[in-house]
């Protein structure tokens, strides 16, 4: 049995934040869950995927976040408790559905998890999704700890059903990827079948209907504001006259700072857990009892703006600050020391600190950037593309996945990236206004997610570029989740379809389509050259399973390679491929780590001395 299904209320378990959220949803009787994987949210869905094999939970990896939200919206409007999980930028993809779903509302509870990523540990931006609450008019809940995240999910479902609206459950990386002890609670019986009652004048959002629905949404928002004012998640503690208003993980840093600074008697804390709508009454009362207030929130001054507006309404003139010079930044995540120092300076108390070490004179440490794995098929494709495009002036729009790492030297393949699917759309623009050869890269999962419309656009508007689809048969970056191109029979699932990328590309009317096996270097270069010389849209599908993923299916390890004494130390292998299996021994000779080597043989094909040979069995 999956550990998150353990039916022993009161039992304590060490859980990752994402496990606590998944467990919380199971306790709330979630019956439908849909996602597109994205760090830091991925493990919530990974657990649901496993759990769905053991229970009546319906779970799916949807093509993208918009589809995932539509799946969940339909289920929730059939009265079934549903959940939709995504990383913060996924909300942008789902936003079209979200904005009008807010008008339509839900019948069964619908909780939308938005996992924000301050500091961008694995994201392209650090947008603050609390503003989606404001933009859509939907309630936002924000936990401050792993335990609270688990517990708050049940409340989020109840709130959704009370308000008949989806609830945005906003976390940050330090909730999703922190671990703590969680106490199990009772699992509510899941209701997995629903019914959809026809009511087109409330469900079909033509203008006449939407005009009424907007009125309904504003009424729900008023009700949500009352709920926020009464919410057990907006908590005041302490009796001092120095006020701190905080939310999310900042509450932990503030709590520790109060202890460390010894200012428990002077401080009054308002922890906001229900952050849209902001609790006007609670905040005004809080402000009235304070001399000065510091707002501690990562990201944008979302609360600060509201708090200042409430102070104005209440005719209060006390100092209220949050973001600004000498205070908090809108950039990156916070940490305990930073919060302690700003609080000490704002409230004018001494700050005990362990002096940082003087690190001058410490030997320099070589950088260790992330790298494509040994034997990664993307490296082979990039090498072949580089060779095939030799002599051409190129632009390489890229996309989101492991292969984005190809932009690092020495491969240097990747010139432009803004979002999922942007490789295809931006290729259209670059090829139209420049005289350079545009060659773009997209992975299989990203192609399905949002690459297809850009490619259709290219065919229709007759643009001129080559799209290389890096099809490694799995959504690799986020931890090997399935996507529509994956052969699910390999995983012993029989009831899935499979979409062929090649068939899709041909059906779109792309005039030049080719498939390569990137480990065959010479053949790949030839095929790529033909595609690059084609005027118009060409697509090359580079097909080779992710080497890490493939390990799970192989009974024996592929034979590794070694550098024989024919090596003249040209180091082309190292300088052009940068495969991490290479290393230099004490004498400066090139060696291959046999444990790391995946046996792809790409280096053996490019060595000018043919010095790289398979290890004999």
């Amino acid at each position: 049995m999956h550990k998150l299904l353990t039916d022993q209320p009161g039992l304590q378990m060490v859980m990752l934040g994402n496990e606590a959220i998944a467990r919380g949803a199971i306790e709330a009787g979630v019956a439908v869950a849909a996602t597109y994987p994205g760090t830091p949210s991925s493990e919530i869905a990974n657990n649901f995927f496993q759990i769905s094999r053991e229970t009546d939970l319906y779970f799916e990896y949807s093509t993208n976040e918009k589809v995932a939200l539509e799946v969940a919206a339909a289920a929730a409007n059939s009265g079934v408790r549903s959940m939709c999980i995504m990383k913060h930028v996924g909300m942008n993809v789902a936003a079209d559905a979200l904005m009008t779903l807010a008008y339509v509302g839900v019948k069964g509870g619908l909780v939308i998890v938005s996992a924000d990523d301050p500091s961008m540990f694995s994201s392209q931006n650090e947008q603050d999704n609390r503003y989606y609450g404001k933009l859509s008019g939907l309630p936002v809940l924000e936990p401050s700890s792993v335990e609270e995240a688990g517990e708050m999910i049940s409340h989020a479902f109840e709130l959704s059903e009370t308000l008949q609206e989806p609830v945005i459950f906003r976390t940050t990386t330090r909730i999703n990827h922190s671990t703590a002890v969680v106490t199990l609670r009772t699992i509510r019986k899941q209701i997995s079948r629903g019914d959809f009652i026809k009511d087109p004048f409330n469900y079909v959002t033509v203008p006449a209907v939407s005009r009424r629905l907007h009125v309904k949404l504003l009424a729900h928002l008023d009700q949500a504001a009352r709920c926020s004012d009464e919410s057990p998640y907006n908590i005041v503690s302490g009796n001092g006259s120095w006020g701190v208003i905080c939310s999310g993980v900042s509450f932990a840093y503030v709590s520790d700072a109060v202890q460390d600074l010894g200012i428990g008697d002077q401080i009054r804390i308002l922890r906001i857990g229900f952050s849209h709508p902001m609790p006007a009454g609670v905040i005004k009362t809080f402000l009235a009892s304070c001399q000065k207030v510091l707002v501690v929130e990562e990201g944008e001054p979302y609360m600060e703006e509201s708090v200042k507006a409430f102070a104005q309404e209440a005719g209060l003139t006390l100092p209220i600050q949050g973001k600004g010079e000498g205070l908090f930044s809108r950039l990156y995540e916070f940490d305990p020391r930073m919060v302690r120092e700003v609080m000490a300076s704002y409230f004018g108390v001494p700050c005990p600190a362990k002096p940082r070490l003087d690190l001058s004179g410490v030997p320099e440490v070589p950088q260790r950037p992330p790298n494509l794995c040994a034997g990664c098929s993307h490296r082979a494709t990039y090498y072949a593309v580089k060779k095939a495009a030799e002599g051409m002036q190129t632009i390489y729009p890229t996309d989101i996945g492991c292969y984005t790492l190809g932009f690092l030297p020495p491969l240097g393949m990747g010139d432009f990236l803004i979002c999922m699917g942007s490789s295809t759309g931006t290729s259209c623009g670059f090829s139209r206004v420049t005289d350079k050869k545009v060659i773009s890269f997209i992975g299989d999962s990203t192609f399905f997610h949002s690459g297809i419309p850009g490619l259709i656009n290219a065919v229709f508007n007759n643009h001129n570029f080559t799209l290389v689809i890096l099809d490694n048969g799995v959504t690799a970056m986020t931890g090997h989740q399935p996507n529509p191109g994956v052969d699910m029979k390999l995983l012993n699932f029989q009831d899935y379809g499979q979409v062929s990328i090649e068939a899709v590309v041909r059906a779109l009317g792309v005039p030049h389509v080719a498939v390569i096996q990137p480990y065959k270097v010479k053949k790949s270069i030839e095929t790529l050259k033909e595609a690059f010389n084609f005027k118009g849209v060409s697509v090359v599908i580079s097909r080779e399973m992710c080497t890490l993923y493939a390990k799970g299916f192989k009974k024996t390890k592929t034979r590794p390679y070694y550098v024989s004494d024919k090596c003249k130390n040209h180091r082309e292998c190292i300088s052009q491929l940068a495969c991490p299996a290479f290393f230099l021994d004490a004498a400066g000779a090139v060696k291959i780590d046999p444990v790391m080597c995946a046996g792809c043989a790409v280096c053996a094909q490019i060595c000018p001395e043919n010095a790289i040979l398979p290890v004999k069995a």
């Binding site: 990386t173 002890v181 202890q259 940490d335 030997p363 320099e364 070589p366 260790r368 992330p370 970056m477």
Partner: protein, 199 residues
């Protein structure tokens, strides 16, 4: 800050530090000691540095600021050195001595530090350095992959964490694969012993 103990573990992807944190998490649960930890997943794991922060005690934060670690465990010597920014003059440091040079060294974009200089740089700035050849010890224990268990043994020996060997060994039994439990326990004991002999 006084009633909590802060541990940073730094490693290279694949060295087993996530399992080591999971063992410590379970041991803390068994010992009834509050624990919060945080890890960086995702892109950082593609051959990059993997860092875990573990806070034992009543603190609510799950991350550790620069200069505030009480103990640092480095699975790879140059990463231990890089982790010095998390340390202060009272910090105890445990490091593996087997280098895994990053790829930047092979392509001439960096120089791997001299091992003697590296140890001196750490020793001269912090309270105690326990440097062990965890790879050799793990091999002797029966599995080169048990480096993480060797380092856990050395860590517990220093006495900085509020955990006993008994709790950690019990956690090793539940958190690591049954086939490896004996080797893992042996590796833990050997790490503990070596750290005890270390001056």
């Amino acid at each position: 800050m006084s009633d909590s103990t802060r541990l940073i573990m730094v490693a290279v992807g694949g060295q087993g530090n996530l399992l080591a944190s999971s063992v410590l998490g379970e041991a803390a649960l068994l010992a009834g000691i509050p624990l919060r930890m945080s890890e960086i997943h995702g892109m950082a794991q593609r051959g990059g540095v993997v860092e875990s922060a573990l806070v034992f005690g009543n603190a609510r934060s799950s991350i550790i600021s620069d200069g505030e670690a009480d103990v640092l465990v480095g699975f790879e010597p140059s990463e231990t050195l890089r982790g010095l920014n998390k340390c202060n003059a009272q910090t105890v440091i445990i490091t593996n001595l087997s280098p895994l040079p990053p790829f930047t060294v092979a392509i001439g974009k960096g120089v791997y530090p001299d091992m003697a200089e590296l140890q001196q740089a750490i020793r001269s700035r912090t309270a105690r350095l326990v440097a062990v050849n965890a790879v050799e010890i793990a091999k002797t224990a029966g599995n080169v992959l048990a480096v993480n268990m060797v380092l856990l043994g050395a860590l517990i020996q220093t006495g900085v964490l509020p955990l006993t060997s008994a709790h950690v060994k019990q956690a090793i039994q539940t958190k690591t694969k049954a086939a490896f439990v004996d080797i893992n326990i042996r590796a833990f004991d050997m790490g503990y012993e070596v750290a005890g002999q270390h001056r």
